[in-house]
């Protein structure tokens, strides 16, 4: 039985349909992703899983329970890391963890050692007695994640875990999340970063305007919706669109972005050679492997990050 089972879930806010008949199932121990641009409905879906937003339609269960009617029981099994850090600024790092554990009704004899363990996990030993305001963005995020783990949840819900962090902080955080994955914690991650989705998710759904547009493992999705490699060419502003007709014969598919042209092919280097031989000399060129970004572009005609 899946840990999370969603069927035709709908959420409307007045005229806006934030989540539009979404169905998916998350297996135990799996790392499941919701990839989509801002406003796709990712956070709304996460809040419905945690039972803090009421569905407008459809059914949803967590370990067989409906978060809407059995909220406290469902939340006892979940760790929730919301998009915005909402740590308790009146308390220290240590107190944030202990107090949160107490909200779940856990005894002090459990909470104390668990807090020490999580402070080490979040690499915040030096800041254990500091107030939250003294932490950097990456530290706050790690503390929020550690806090979500205090009740040893079956499922950890991570809403945009690394948005707003610098690259180094992101890598530290990813490393922590890998550890959790190894320990068998089920992760549900939303992100609008394709690299994050590729790094963290075993399987994901791509969402746009509240609807699922594709589902699969990152590798499957890339294979299904893109070529193996991509050549990015810049011909300088104004010229990009002009050369497209001439490029047409060489690529399986072409996408024109405001600042560059993307050519899809199985062998990027070879394609680049052909283009050069044809006398089309780009200002800059780059050959790379296809990513989920390309999948999204293919499916929606837009890029993930505008």
């Amino acid at each position: 039985m899946p840990v999370i089972d969603a069927h035709d879930v709908v959420k409307t806010y007045g005229e806006v349909t934030a989540v539009d008949h979404v169905s998916f199932a998350v297996r135990s121990g799996e790392s499941f992703g919701l990839l989509g641009p801002n406003g796709a409905g990712k956070s709304t879906t996460m809040r419905m899983i945690g039972g803090s937003t009421v569905r407008s339609g459809g059914s949803l269960t967590v370990a067989g329970l409906d978060p809407q009617t059995q909220g406290p029981q469902v939340r006892a099994m979940l760790g929730v890391v919301p998009q915005q850090d909402n740590l308790d600024t009146e308390l220290t790092v240590r107190e944030n963890l202990m107090v949160y554990g107490r909200y779940f009704g856990l005894p002090m004899s459990y909470v104390r050692p668990k807090t020490d363990e999580l402070i080490a996990f979040a690499q915040l030993q030096d800041k254990a007695n500091a107030k939250v305001d003294e932490l950097s963005g990456g530290m706050k995020r790690r503390l929020t994640i550690a806090r979500g783990l205090i009740n040893e949840p079956k499922v950890l819900l991570l809403d945009e875990p690394t948005t707003g962090l610098d690259p180094q902080a992101r890598h530290i955080l990813w490393d922590r999340l890998f550890r959790l994955k190894e320990q068998g914690v089920t992760l549900v991650v939303t992100t609008h970063f394709m690299d994050e989705a590729e790094q963290l998710c075993d399987r994901l759904i791509v969402i746009d305007h509240g609807k699922i547009v594709a589902e699969g493992s990152p590798a499957d999705l890339i294979q299904q919706y893109s070529s193996r490699e991509v050549v990015e060419l810049r011909f300088g502003s104004g010229r990009n669109a002009g050369v497209v007709d001439q490029l047409q014969p060489y690529a399986q598919r072409i996408e024109i972005l405001p600042d560059r042209v993307l050519l899809y092919a199985d062998d990027g280097e070879e394609l680049l050679d052909q283009v050069r031989r044809a006398g089309l000399i780009p200002v800059t060129s780059l050959v790379r492997r296809s990513s989920l970004e390309d999948v999204f572009l293919r499916l929606t005609g837009r890029s993930l990050i505008e």
Binding site: R75, E90, L91, V99, R102, Y103, G105
Partner: protein, 266 residues
């Protein structure tokens, strides 16, 4: 019957204590100046009015026509006001901050706590502040010789009941606020209630219609009950005063729970 128990189940996990525990930990970093102001303000009124005005006014007729010194007349009223102030401060400014800015209730409700646990826990914290005010105040007026009966000790739990009523109701009202300025408006409404609720002059000095209006407001009931306790003389109204606050408290807690649900579990 089952309706009531499922209401409880949906709104509570019976873990009020966790919310209170968090409150005490946060107190350490609390704003002690504000806490102290709430305590000293009524004391200053008592000193300035009781002894300043007292010299001019002389004696006043209190509950059951008993003659009281002016200071003795206003002291229990100041204690009721102090209980109100503490409760209102906690349930408006503090609650507004936690509800809208720190998102504390959102966090609590994302755990297995229910809205009723959060409401009662926060109200208990407000009461604790009221309890300290009440203890201090009773000690001060007893030392000033303004209490005339052992009944005065009962002013402490009654101060808590008054605080409970105001805190429960204040929290529900605060849940509707969206801007800080709205709390100033509330303060503006509380000011005349403080001045006219038979705190500084007996109710009888006002025209009948005004009296009825005052008698509908909560503070008057608190003031009257406190005054009767301070001298140990009770009128048949004592039960009405008590019942007023019991109902206000129960309605406030129910109202607050419903609001928390509507705000954070929607």
């Amino acid at each position: 019957m089952s309706g009531r128990s499922s209401w409880l189940q949906a709104n509570s996990s019976g873990r009020v204590w966790a919310v209170v525990e968090r409150g005490f930990r946060a107190w350490k970093s609390g704003n002690w100046v504000v806490v102290m102001t709430g305590f000293f303000e009524p004391l200053l009124y008592l000193a300035a009015m009781g002894y300043g005005m007292g010299g001019l006014v002389g004696e006043v007729r209190g509950p059951g026509g008993v003659v009281m010194s002016y200071a003795g007349f206003i002291a229990p009223a100041m204690m009721a006001t102090s209980a109100m102030n503490g409760a209102i401060y906690d349930s408006t400014w503090n609650v507004f901050f936690k509800m809208k800015i720190a998102k504390l209730y959102e966090v609590m409700l994302a755990t297995s706590l229910g809205p009723l646990d959060v409401a009662i826990g926060e109200i208990v914290m407000a009461l604790f502040r009221g309890f300290i005010y009440a203890l201090g105040f009773t000690a001060v007026i007893a030392a000033m010789g303004l209490t005339h009966s052992w009944w005065a000790l009962a002013m402490i739990p009654v101060a808590l009941l008054i605080a409970l009523g105001f805190a429960a109701f204040g929290m529900a009202v605060t849940s509707f606020f969206t801007r800080f300025q709205q709390m100033d408006v509330l303060q503006l409404a509380l000011m005349p209630m403080f001045l006219f609720s038979a705190t500084l002059v007996p109710l009888e000095v006002y025209p009948q219609v005004v009296q009825w209006f005052i008698m509908a407001l909560p503070l008057w009931h608190g003031v009257e009950l406190m005054r009767q306790l301070s001298i140990g003389v009770f009128t048949s109204w004592a039960w009405v005063h008590l019942a007023y606050f019991v109902v206000l408290s129960a309605a406030g807690i129910f109202f607050t729970t419903t609001r928390l649900r509507a705000l954070f579990l929607k």
